[in-house]
């Protein structure tokens, strides 16, 4: 494709309803939400998506989630990378089934990733980081940040067979510091010789 065009797209969503909470069917909570996103340059090599969403619940109050993601496609998608930041800014709320005390739910989310394909080989790196504003929130077990980094190497053995290995390193208050490895063998079953992949 030659040249690049810029696309502006505004999407708005509004819903108002009575909602029965997922696991407590007896709850009579009112829920409202609206949001939107603006997309710039979705057909060019740089793509920016800015998004916003507001939610309101009678029981827990208001929350706003806003942020943006940037994505680069270089040399016809052989190299891709992305970066994003989102902030959730929410009213203080009690833990489930109690009336108090109130804790902060607000947090930030930072993500960066890259993916490279060269011939039959592919490699990727993906990192995600959360930071919570209120360390005293009992759901955090006293640890205000969570992160995970995943690295992966892959080899496309045949058109239908791909072998890849991942190594991930993370830290959170449930599992503490942990390293995980994964070996992945993917085989695509195809009924036709053309198309129909995936």
């Amino acid at each position: 494709m030659t040249g690049a065009f810029t696309e502006r797209n505004f999407f708005a969503y509004f819903a108002g309803s009575n909602f029965k909470s997922l696991f407590s069917q007896d709850e009579k909570d009112k829920f409202r939400a609206f949001g939107g996103s603006v997309i710039l340059g979705s057909a060019s090599s740089v793509e920016v998506v800015a998004d916003f969403r507001h939610t309101h619940r009678e029981s827990y109050g208001d929350a706003n989630r806003f942020g943006a993601d940037v994505r680069w496609n270089l040399s016809s998608k052989k190299i891709m990378s992305g970066f994003g930041y989102h902030k959730v800014s929410a009213d203080d709320a009690p833990t489930k089934g109690t009336l108090g005390p109130l804790y902060g739910w607000s947090h930030g989310e930072l993500r960066a990733w890259a993916m490279v394909q060269k011939g039959l080989l592919s490699a990727s790196l993906d990192g995600i980081f959360y930071n919570f504003d209120d360390k005293k929130n009992p759901n955090l077990n006293g640890q205000s940040s969570i992160y995970q980094v995943v690295g992966s190497l892959g080899y496309q053995a045949t058109t239908n067979l791909k072998i890849s290995g991942d190594l991930s390193y993370g830290d959170d208050s449930l599992f503490k510091k942990q390293v995980m490895g994964l070996l992945r063998v993917e085989y695509r079953f195809t009924s036709t010789s053309k198309g129909g992949r995936k």
Binding site: Y60, S122, S124, N139, S152, G170, R184, K198
Partner: protein, 162 residues
């Protein structure tokens, strides 16, 4: 009396609309699999190959299926109306990577080699979901809460979440 007439009109319109949809539905004229192997590791822009013309037997353009960020975010609209089109390229397993419920492996682990993919959750979600689930449980209900809840329910009852 006037009220009744209006009701009948609406009903007639409704039926007419449904028939029109059935007539215009492009599904029957589609090849069962997409004839050209579209490169898999990237979101396709249909208009790169098909141009801007309308699809056979339908009012929609190929362009309207371009896998832009908007399309990916809002694919429920297209998926509901044109599931046949999706199936010409996507096997059910592709959809179930995110919609699964039956698979017990987190999508972010299964697709750990594909950071470019959109994922319902990333990283270790068990802590964060406690906040997300409060902020907007309606979103979760699209994929959870109907079946395959054993894992969720077990921990919730142990921790008194109900």
């Amino acid at each position: 009396m006037i009220r009744k007439t209006i009701l009948i009109c609406v009903a007639a319109l409704g039926i007419g609309f449904l028939t029109a949809c059935a007539l215009l539905s492009p599904q029957t004229s589609f090849a069962p699999t997409h004839p050209e192997g579209v490169e898999t590791a990237s979101r396709p822009m249909c208009s790169d190959c098909h141009g801007t013309e309308a699809m056979k037997g339908g009012l929609k353009t190929f362009e309207s299926f371009n896998h832009t960020p908007t399309f990916v975010k809002n694919h429920r609209f297209q998926a509901n109306q044109d599931s046949g089109t999706c199936a010409s390229c996507h096997a059910p397993s592709f959809c179930s990577d995110c919609h699964g419920g039956k698979v017990s492996m987190a999508s972010s682990v299964k697709l750990g080699d594909r950071p470019d993919r959109e994922m319902p959750h990333r990283g270790n979600y068990l802590i964060l979901h406690r906040m997300d689930g409060k902020v907007d449980p309606t979103g979760c209900y699209k994929c959870h809460g109907r079946s395959n809840n054993d894992k969720c329910a077990t921990c919730h009852s142990q921790r008194g979440v109900r």
